[in-house]
């Protein structure tokens, strides 16, 4: 009995956060915050695996958590939000059901009570809570009665046929002749035992009688078969309805059904053959074979591996090995299964139907009487009532986690039981809030929103005294630490200009904690730094193209930082800075000389800087200014240079000499004189 209830009892409201921290390689990398479906897993992703410890099923890389799926969560939340069913109609419905059960109770059952109970069924089905189940029950009961009427009719027909048969037998014997009638030892009524050889005239006379007798016998046999079949079909229909009610967790309807069944079929045959009937009606293809799960251990397996490495169809696994039939035992202790290979053979619709039929037959062997179904229903009703009491008690103690778990279990098992439906909305709301927060926590952990998860853990620990924060907090803290480590590595990579590592580390940090506030700051800083650098490089290239070295010089700090990682640009920058620095020095010197009343010297200083950096606007301006102030000298120098360019050596030298005469400190003139003198005497 308990094995059946395991379906319901294993469902717990909150154990999901522990599922999030399942074993797997990602645990180390993410602190366990990464959902387990990310892991390759022991069995790979091809074999569905149910972990009862965490209520998780995995298949094809997807995680199906019984506590965290829309189907159960939505249904449970709908119940928690629904008002208590304590209205007058609800009370009347319950009263009607109780009345039916009382009328059909073993001590009181009689045809009158059965009729009375049957008449109450349509009344009960009028209430919303019943979902017309009682009406279906009434229909089935009526069908049984019809079947019984058919049986009576067939019996009556058979009685008539019996009389006709007797008459035909008499006629037959009379037509066999006197010898046979007087022959001693002729006994029995069915077959004349005469061995007298009949004349052709006699045979022609008795042949029609023989045929009529044969037809009557055949009809009687058919009626008998029909009668049996009609009763059997009625029983199976009734049983199917009861099994369906049981599957629907309508336990009180199961009780009503079993009591009606006993009253209607008073032959004491309570065998439950509906499951076998359903199994036999399934379109099983024997050639389809069975689903096979194969496992292969490679030589790297160490320790005591599971002994059963082969699976038969339609069986579960125990997480270590898969064994055939219903044997799920394992002898595997601790072992290392590196390189273990699993595979599924012959997985198809036909093989799955075959497996389902086998399962139903097995279930039919376990539950083979209506009495068992009846006791299971009674046990379920008791368990549901106890669950509700337990919930109320835990609520008083402010132990919301356990309370919610008990209520969820109770709800899953006895969703339609009065004790569940009558629970007040206020009582349910507390479980609802807890459930919502735990679901939110699961969602936060699933998407690695660690900040929200941490907030929820704190809130849950305050509202639910029995909420164990250690596991989820450990998950959160570990993930945070790992994320921080990745961010630190990303920062270091950004500083060293290692773009590949920067991206890898940032991605890792983002995967672990996507909404990490530090992540936004750090990545923002890194990217803005990158942007600034890129912008500076762009400006640098543009200014070079424009030959605006002065601007580069004035922004030299920015460009020095930006070009630090680019040797080619760095070299260009160095050259530019040297040139502009030289021009700047020339400007400063010229300013000083101008102050001393030496415009020719000032011009010459500017001119020397100008040759290094002819595009500098400042130099150009100063050059123009000093040219006017030392016009004669400048003219001499320029003419000398022009003559030199035209290979007029004598004139050029003369002009340089004249320039030197005008400004004896002129270096340009001296250099020109030396240059041309050497040329002349070469």
């Amino acid at each position: 009995m308990k094995s059946l209830f395991k379906i319901y009892l294993t469902i717990a409201v909150f154990a999901g956060y522990s599922a999030v921290a399942q074993d797997g390689n990602s645990k180390a990398a993410t602190g366990g915050a990464r959902p387990p479906q990310m892991n390759q897993g022991f069995l790979g992703r091809d074999v569905p695996v149910m972990d009862p410890g965490s209520d998780n099923s995995t298949f094809d890389g997807k995680l199906w958590n019984m506590n965290n799926n829309r189907l159960f969560r939505a249904r449970f939340e709908k119940y928690l939000n629904a008002p208590e069913e304590t209205s007058e109609a609800d009370q009347q419905y319950e009263s009607t059901i109780n009345q039916i059960l009382t009328l059909l109770s073993p001590g009181k059952v009689n045809p009158a009570n059965v009729d009375a109970a049957w008449k109450l069924l349509p009344k009960a089905s009028e209430y919303k809570s019943d979902a017309n189940l009682c009406s279906s029950m009434a229909d089935v009961v009526y069908s049984v009665w019809l079947a019984k009427n058919e049986v009576d009719r067939l019996e009556m027909a058979n009685r008539t046929l019996q009389k006709e048969k007797s008459s035909l037998e008499w006629n037959y014997r009379m037509n066999m002749g006197p010898s046979t009638l007087t022959q001693p030892g002729a006994t029995g009524s069915n077959a004349p035992t005469s061995t007298t050889t009949l004349s052709p005239q006699d045979e022609a006379r008795i042949e029609p009688i023989k045929e009529a007798l044969s037809d009557v016998r055949q009809t009687m046999a058919n009626n008998k078969l029909k009668k049996e079949a009609s009763i059997v079909q009625a029983k199976i229909d009734f049983q199917s309805l009861i099994v369906q009610y049981f599957a629907q967790r309508r336990f009180r309807h199961v009780l009503i059904g079993t009591r009606f069944y006993r009253a209607l079929f008073g032959d004491g045959d309570n065998r439950l053959s509906a499951l076998d009937q359903i199994a036999s009606n399934l379109p099983v293809d024997k050639d389809a074979g069975q689903v096979k799960v194969k496992a292969k251990l490679d030589p790297k397996v160490s320790g005591r591996g599971g002994s059963g490495a082969y699976a038969g169809g339609g069986t579960g696994t125990n997480g270590r090995n898969v064994s055939g039939g219903t044997d799920t035992s394992s002898s595997g202790g601790g072992f290392s299964a590196e390189g273990m290979q699993f595979g599924v053979d012959n997985l198809g619709v036909e093989s799955l139907i075959s497996a389902g039929a086998s399962g139903l037959k097995a279930l039919g062997k376990m539950i083979n009487s209506l009495g068992q179904l009846d006791s299971l229903a009674n046990e379920a009703i008791r368990d549901v009532d106890e669950g509700i009491e337990s919930y109320k008690f835990l609520l008083e103690k402010n132990e919301l986690k356990s309370a919610t778990e008990r209520l969820f279990e109770t709800f899953m098992m006895g969703e339609y039981m009065p004790s569940v439906r009558k629970l007040s909305r206020d009582d349910k709301r507390r479980a609802l809030e807890f459930t919502r927060k735990t679901n939110e926590l699961l969602a936060a952990l699933e998407v690695n929103d660690l900040t929200r998860a941490e907030e929820l853990i704190k809130e849950l620990s305050q509202t639910a005294k029995d909420f164990d924060t250690s596991k989820p907090l450990a998950v959160v803290e570990t993930a945070k630490t790992v994320s921080a480590m990745h961010l630190a590595k990303a920062k270091a990579a950004a500083t060293s200009g290692d773009r590949a590592t920067l991206e890898t580390e940032l991605r890792a940090a983002t995967e672990i904690w996507p909404r990490n506030p530090a992540l936004a700051q750090v990545s923002g800083a890194i990217f803005s730094q990158t942007d600034v650098q890129q912008q500076a490089l762009n400006d640098f290239d543009r200014l070079i193209a424009q030959k605006n070295y002065r601007q580069i010089f004035e922004d030299k700090v920015r460009f020095i930082a930006a070009t630090a990682m680019y040797p080619e640009r760095q070299e260009k920058l160095k050259t530019i800075l040297d040139r502009v620095q030289s021009a700047e020095a020339a400007l400063m010197r010229s300013t000083e000389l101008a102050k001393r009343g030496d415009p020719a010297g000032a011009w010459e200083s500017v001119e020397r800087g100008f040759s290094d950096y002819p595009d500098d606007p400042k130099l150009n301006q100063a050059r123009a200014d000093f040219t006017t102030q030392a016009a004669e000298f400048v003219r001499s120098i320029r003419t000398a240079q022009e003559m030199e360019r035209k290979q007029q050596v004598g004139s050029s030298l003369a002009w340089y000499l004249r320039a030197l005469q005008d400004y004896p400190n002129s270096e340009i003139a001296r250099e020109g004189i030396d240059r041309i003198s050497n040329l002349i005497l070469k």
Partner: protein, 134 residues
């Protein structure tokens, strides 16, 4: 007191003496003039023209007189290059002058005046053919 007899110088003698004196003075002046401008037959260089385009004067011979300013360069095979300040048209013009190795025996001193007969060589440089202190 006795009166000496009054004697008078013949006028012809006086005229003759004056004429002789003038002739002697003329001869002397001629010779003196000849010593002061030894290259008086050679055209004087116009510095402005030289500054303007020395190449256009190539092959010409001129006389130049000025004060040595500086020694610019020296090559034992080719000679010495000086700058000489020439005054012309009330302006002072510094000019380069090459004293070739053939004239190496002549001492050229800074701030001393020299007169030289020069020609403009293919490079437009003044090359001294003769030079002497002035």
């Amino acid at each position: 007191m006795s009166r000496r007899a009054h004697s008078s110088t013949p006028p012809g003698l006086v005229i003759g003496l004056v004429a002789a004196f003038l002739a002697l003075a003329g001869v002397g002046a001629y010779f003196f003039q000849k010593d002061a401008e030894p290259y008086r037959t050679v055209e004087k260089l116009r510095p402005a023209d030289y500054f303007e385009n020395a190449n256009s004067l190539r092959g010409n011979a001129y006389q130049v007189e000025g004060t040595i300013l500086n020694s610019l360069a020296w090559n034992p095979e080719k000679g010495r290059l000086f700058s000489i300040r020439v005054t012309s048209e009330s302006k002072s013009w510094p000019l380069p002058i090459l004293i070739p190795a053939t004239l190496q025996k002549i001492n050229i001193q800074k701030n001393q005046s020299y007169r030289a007969k020069v020609h403009v060589n293919d490079s437009g440089v003044l090359v001294a053919d003769e030079i002497q202190k002035s």
